[in-house]
């Protein structure tokens, strides 16, 4: 970053302000349905951490767009993802958010029974219906893969290139995908998880994460640790720009106290810096020297979003039972402050005053790119 005035001042001859999306984009169920169809159900979606599925038959159910998806592992330990729907009459198979099955997934309605590969293994009178193909009438699978220790699914028949979408977001932010490699995120363990129920449209949460114009006002603790945030420019504004810790700050913690020790193998020039990445459409990653904070959103409706946030530390730190409260507390507080702001904004989205939306100041203009992206993906002729 050479000078900040370029980013906070409007370009010569241009307006300081550009419009946001209109209010209806945040409250109209039809808009949300379109976003589910064209975005969440058509891209790669970060659904769970690999450790949420520790063994064959361990499962999680997550909402991806408008669909309930069942995640599990086969007998051989391979990741599997299915629509959480019985192929017989459509009853939801698993009602719990997580759990473990010893033998099979069984529909609670007529007892159609599926193994962990989704194959139909049993059903009342099945032997009298030898024409039922047990694979054709098995649970319908969706694409699944593992990246950075997380389980990603795609409901698309033909998923987009993972490299060209998810990894490209990392490249756009850090310059190369190698830059994230030194954090070795896949090897880290979940030290703490906090789930937030946010009564706001998912786009308000993305927009909030993308800008730092609000930081000095609502994040006093964060701005204390990262003083440059007071200038209102997000770490996401520049390619591979890390926000430097304040001089007296010893770690990314609520009081600037020492963290749990720099991650092994981390590039030296990153040992006092904070990086943030938005992986559209629903993942936010924060990289700090001794841990990684990994958020994923599960948009439930146009006015409700579940955010699950993991604090990842080395397996040694987690196994040792070391107290990580000071580092968890910093971003937990940031999350509470951010989500409160989003919830304060949501009600106005249906106000007649906000029919044409609000405005973005120059340090927020890059949010316009996000709006353009959403608009293009959900355009009537898109896809």
């Amino acid at each position: 970053m050479t000078t900040t005035s370029d980013a906070t001042t409007s370009p010569a001859g241009e307006s300081s302000l550009i419009p946001t999306l209109p209010g209806a984009a945040y409250v109209d169920p039809a808009v949300f349905a379109r976003e589910c169809e064209r975005i969440f159900e058509d891209m790669w979606f970060c659904a769970a951490h690999a450790s949420d599925l520790p063994k064959p038959g361990a499962f999680r159910t997550v909402q991806v767009g408008r669909e309930s998806i069942l995640l599990t592992r086969s007998r051989r330990g391979e990741l599997r993802a299915f629509y959480n729907i019985c192929r017989h009459r459509g009853a939801r198979i698993c009602l719990e958010e997580s759990g473990e099955k010893a033998r099979s997934f069984q529909c609670p309605y007529h007892a159609w029974t599926y193994d962990f590969d989704g194959r139909l293994v049993a059903a009342p009178n099945l032997t009298k219906m030898p024409d039922i193909d047990r694979v054709d009438y098995g649970l319908r699978s969706v694409h699944v893969r593992s990246w950075m220790g997380y389980v990603w699914v795609s409901l698309a028949d033909d998923p987009p290139s993972f490299e060209g979408t998810v990894e490209a977001e990392v490249v756009a932010r850090l310059g190369t995908v190698d830059k994230i490699a030194s954090y070795d995120i896949a090897s880290l363990s979940v030290g703490r998880r906090i789930t937030y129920e946010v009564k706001a449209n998912w786009k308000l949460i993305v927009e909030n994460f993308m800008e730092c114009y609000h930081c000095a006002t609502i994040h006093p603790e964060l701005t204390e640790v990262l003083p440059e945030f007071a200038d209102g420019l997000a770490a996401q504004y520049f390619v591979d720009h890390g926000a430097e810790f304040g001089e007296d700050v010893r770690g990314f913690t609520i009081d600037g106290s020492e963290g749990v020790g720099v991650l092994p193998g981390l590039d030296e020039d990153r040992d006092r810096k904070y990086y943030a990445i938005t992986i559209k459409p629903q993942v936010f990653v924060n990289l700090v020297p001794d841990h990684v904070i990994w958020h994923r959103m599960y948009p439930i409706s146009e006015q409700l979003t579940i955010v699950e946030c993991d604090w990842l530390y080395t397996a040694d730190v987690v196994a040792s039972g070391r107290d990580v409260t000071a580092s968890v507390e910093l971003f937990h507080r940031v999350n509470q402050q951010d989500f409160e702001a989003c919830e304060r904004t949501q009600p106005a989205m249906s106000s007649r005053l906000y029919r044409d939306g609000g405005v973005l100041v120059p340090s927020e203009h890059h949010i316009g790119d996000f709006h353009a992206w959403v608009t293009a993906r959900t355009a009537p002729d898109a896809g």
Binding site: A111, A122, P124, N125, L126, T127
Partner: protein, 116 residues
């Protein structure tokens, strides 16, 4: 005794439904490589026990988790209440041979099999 299948047709730890006899039977090969034969149809509802879960000398019905003892046919818990028949089984020349029981089978309500 009659030859019902080749030993190689039944993987260790699994069961196979044999439909060449009436009513169909299930032949199991335990982890200890012992071979057992019982009626294939659960006595509670029409389900194939060969599709069930084999553990030691017990098979659990895939539908409602009643377990049957492969040695005696006894059931351990509801919803099934009546035992299945046990058929003497033996391995000879890489084949599985069975002496069918002459008891009356306990088929679930409404289930019949036509003799082939």
């Amino acid at each position: 005794m009659q030859l019902v299948c080749a030993l190689a047709d039944v993987p260790v730890g699994e069961g196979v439904r044999i439909t060449t006899v009436t009513p169909p039977i299930a032949v199991f090969r335990t982890e200890d490589d012992d071979v057992y034969a019982i009626d294939d149809t659960c006595t509670h509802q029409d389900a194939s026990l060969a599709d069930g879960w084999l553990e030691d000398c017990w098979v659990e019905c895939p539908l409602h988790a009643s377990r049957f003892d492969l040695r005696t046919g006894r059931v351990d818990q509801p919803p099934a209440k009546r035992p299945v028949r046990v058929h003497a089984a033996t391995v000879r020349d890489d084949g599985i041979w069975v002496e069918l029981s002459d008891e009356v089978p306990h088929l679930p309500p409404g289930v019949t099999f036509e003799a082939r």
